[in-house]
Amino acid sequence: MQWETVIGLEIHTQLASKSKIFSGASIAYGAEPNSQACIVDLGFPGVLPVLNEAAVDMALMFGLAVDAQIGSRSVFARKNYFYPDLPKGYQISQFELPIVGRGSLTVDLEDGQQKEIGITRAHLEEDAGKSLHEDFHGMSGIDLNRAGTPLLEIVSEPDMRSIKEAVAYARKIHQLVVYLGICDGNMQEGSFRVDANLSMRPKGQQEFGTRTELKNINSFRFLERAMNFERERQIDLLESGKAVVQETRLYDADRDETRSMRSKEEANDYRYFPDPDLLPVEITEQRLAQAKERMPELPDQKKARFASDYQLSDVDATLLTQSRPQADYYEQVVATGADPKIAANWVTVELAGALNKAGLELSDSPVSAEHLGGLLKRIADSTISGKLAKQVFEAIWQGEGDADTVIEAKGLKQITDTGQIESIIDEIIAANPKQVEQFQAGKDKLLGFFVGQVMKQTQGKANPGQVNQILLKKLKG
């Protein structure tokens, strides 16, 4: 039987505010256990939540970016359940009237096609703490530093029909929230968490099959693997006539498998109701307008602009706009007067390659945009050849100064003096009569030999164009 995969994703993004969603405690990662859990986060008797405006504004920016419906009123609700990482016995979340309503996102697929994925909603909620399972005399340790960190939960429609589509959508959301500056996107630290709802159905069938929810996925690679495993598991079940059980399954990266989460098996009754400690949030025109003003250029817009303004190929424009820092870096290079296409090549190939090799982020690049611009300028004005440029780049990377300093120090300046080149060529012709003869007899390939000799003589500094031209003139007599 032909099976079709149906996937919807729930993505939890930690918002990049300074303080928690309902308290003034810091959300910085990696603090001492419970040192950033204030009485509000700990759910002490008598404490009350007060909403952080940054969380609201960041949610609005996301809503605007996915063209979502944004209501004038939004309501917080309590989701009630007992768990040690949930200090109040309820999570403040949203149920009816989420801050971001229906929207959509267009995803580029590998085959060059595009697909629009529906976004059901995005709502604000507080993150839970962490249970540490190292053995404390047979007990678990609870760290509530993360409790109360603002989350935007982005829920998609079950619109994805392949694992590739789902990964592409997740990556696009990741790119978007990082672009918007509302999330640091760090999957290792849990700033961006993807849960996948996956089900199978016979191709052509309308109704959805029974789905499972996959959790504990902390990279895109694992997302793909978890869904692959789960897809196979479900197909095996269905093909052997068994039923898929609706449940939450944890992905185990070490074993590359998903397994049932025992503790959440019992049917939950969350008893959602409007949180009486919080009033309805009014989204005024003014607040929305402010959020609009704060919106940066989005990846798709930037890509289109790069393609048209800089005459870049689709591939280059896509690559350069992958991340905001890279796009900004590129534009800074172009701003120095560099040719946009050559700059694109240097940023996406030479620089990206060097960074990758060194395991560095662009923000840590030893070569600044100004330095790279300076180098490209020396290529453009023929001060150095393209070949030597790599050597200069290397030296800048090593901290030996900007392009001009390096060129000067290493004496790499290109020889463009025609007279000087001519006299070198004359010497070479004189020293190699046999090759001259063969060339003149029609062995054109030998031109390369003569060029090589000139470059050897000049340590690569002769201008290759001039060398070619003069050689041809002299050899053909």
Partner: protein
């Protein structure tokens, strides 16, 4: 000294007739001597009180004292007090030393009060007789066989027995007004949001409101002045100007329109209470007020609405008591579920468990619409009744309770009978309106409370209406026999 109102005590302090240390010592001595038979206090903080009194005396000497500087009061044990046990009347919090002060506590400290201790109360403020307290029931100072009312029963009894000049209370369905009525003192539940709820242990968040419990309306004005105001730490606190509550106490009541809801005078009202209320109305007529009958047609819905809304909110509010971070933890939990179930099962008393269960049920899948959503709608109807009424009248009057104080143990077997005690007070909480109870003519030696309900933020009007009456009659000056 203990017979004096705050206003009189403040005058005495200012005139150096006595010091705050002397006054505090006097009240502490009374607590020591009398509270064994009343049980109004869960905790007394004598040492701290005397230190606060000494500081107040310095301020008095320096001449920068306010009207509450050096006045000894008691805090209901629902307000978090830093470094002092805050039990909420529950075994669950018997070991809870709060690491912070409630906003109300901070504000009253800033006003210079001396805190004598923490007042007994129904467990988590759930009760109308103070019989659900983990610390034992409170005896009504007027008749020790009777209840003081609840949930602020300890606060009411402490003021009635003059073991404190004033007290704080909280009122979710009548918990200030009903005990004030049964103990013969003045109790004011302000408009929802008038006083910060930060640090006040939540029972039902959309209904809870703190307020003063005092010997007179004039005293209540001073206490409210210190307690009221916007708090950035409480999202539901009202950003609404706080008027000078004392300034308008003496305003004329000529032309005041008083509405009597006919539903509050139907069967079930004690005849003695009815005639006391009627007598009080005559006093108002004497002031030139006009008394008209009005209707609050959805009054019968108030108690059933309340017993969905309040338990639903409390079932969630009390989930934080799980034995993990503070409060009671059962012995040797065998697993996580056991920790939760036994800590909560052993830490909470029967009434709290009942309400948690009712609320859990009302919010659960399949019942939410029939119970919780329905109650939110009837709540709207009840609120609309008052909106209509306040288009016709300035203030609503009626009984605070159906009868004077009942006997200890009389209603403990049947929760529903107990709940009906709050039949006249609950509606104001549902609507969020201010309400006040003050003593009128007693019946068979037991106090009777007249309830005033005002429009939103009309506390000044209620205090004015009460004060005029108290100036005229003096029922509020009665002190239980043997306690003067």
């Amino acid at each position: 000294m203990h017979k004096k109102t705050i206003v009189e005590l403040a005058a005495g302090l200012k005139a150096r007739e006595f010091s705050s240390v002397e006054l505090t010592g006097h009240f502490l001595e009374r607590i020591e001597r009398l509270d064994g038979n009343i049980n109004a206090f869960i905790t007394t903080t004598a040492e701290q009180a005397l230190a606060e009194a000494a500081a107040a005396d310095e301020k008095l000497k320096a001449g920068d004292a306010g009207p509450l500087t050096g006045i000894p009061i008691v805090q209901k044990d629902i307000f978090c007090t830093q470094g002092v046990k805050t039990s909420c009347g529950s075994r669950m919090l018997d070991n809870f030393i709060s690491p912070y002060d409630a906003t109300v506590v901070t504000k009253l400290k800033q006003a210079g009060v001396v805190t004598l201790g923490k007042a007994n109360m129904d467990e988590f403020a759930m009760g109308s007789s103070n019989e659900t307290s983990f610390y034992g029931n409170v005896h009504n100072p007027w008749d020790r066989e009777r209840v003081p009312g609840g949930s602020s029963g300890g606060s009411a009894a402490a003021v009635a027995a003059r073991m404190a000049a004033a007290a704080t209370g909280t009122d979710t369905g009548g918990s200030i007004r009903q005990p004030a009525a049964l103990c013969g003192i003045t109790g004011l539940k302000p408009t929802y949001g008038r006083i910060s709820r930060f640090g006040m242990i939540a029972f039902a968040s959309s209904l809870d409101q703190a307020g003063p419990m005092t010997a007179s309306a004039e005293d209540a004005a001073l206490m409210l002045q210190a307690m009221a105001g916007f708090d950035p730490r409480d999202s539901t606190s009202a950003d609404h100007p706080v008027p000078d509550y004392s300034a308008t106490l003496g305003d004329s009541l000529a032309g005041l329109k008083i509405g009597l809801p006919k539903e509050y005078f139907e069967e079930g009202l004690d005849e003695g209470v009815r005639s006391s209320i009627e007598a009080a109305l005559e006093v108002y007529k004497g002031f030139g007020a006009e008394v008209v009958e009005i209707s609050l047609p959805n009054s019968a819905m108030a108690v059933p609405t309340y017993y969905v809304v309040a338990p639903a909110e409390c079932s969630s509010n009390l989930s934080r008591f799980d034995g993990a971070r503070f409060g009671y933890r059962c012995e040797d939990p065998k697993d996580l579920e056991d920790l939760y179930k036994r800590s909560r099962g052993e830490g909470f008393g029967a009434e709290v468990k009942r309400r948690i269960m009712i609320g859990t049920y009302a919010l659960s899948a399949g019942y939410y619409d029939a119970y919780y959503l329905k109650a939110q709608k009837t709540r709207h109807l009840i609120s609309d009744d008052f909106k209509q009424a306040f288009q016709q009248v300035d203030v609503i009057m009626g009984p605070a309770t159906p009868a004077p104080a009942f006997k200890l143990g009389e209603k403990t077997d049947d929760p529903v009978t107990m709940y009906l005690n709050d039949i006249y007070t609950i509606a104001a909480n549902l609507a969020g309106l201010p309400g006040l109870s003050m003593p009128v003519q007693p019946v068979n030696g037991l106090p009777v409370g007249l309830q005033l309900i005002g429009n939103y933020f009309a506390e000044a009007k209620l205090l004015n209406v009460a004060h005029k009456f108290q100036q005229e009659t003096g029922w509020h000056r009665l002190i239980p026999e043997g306690l003067d």
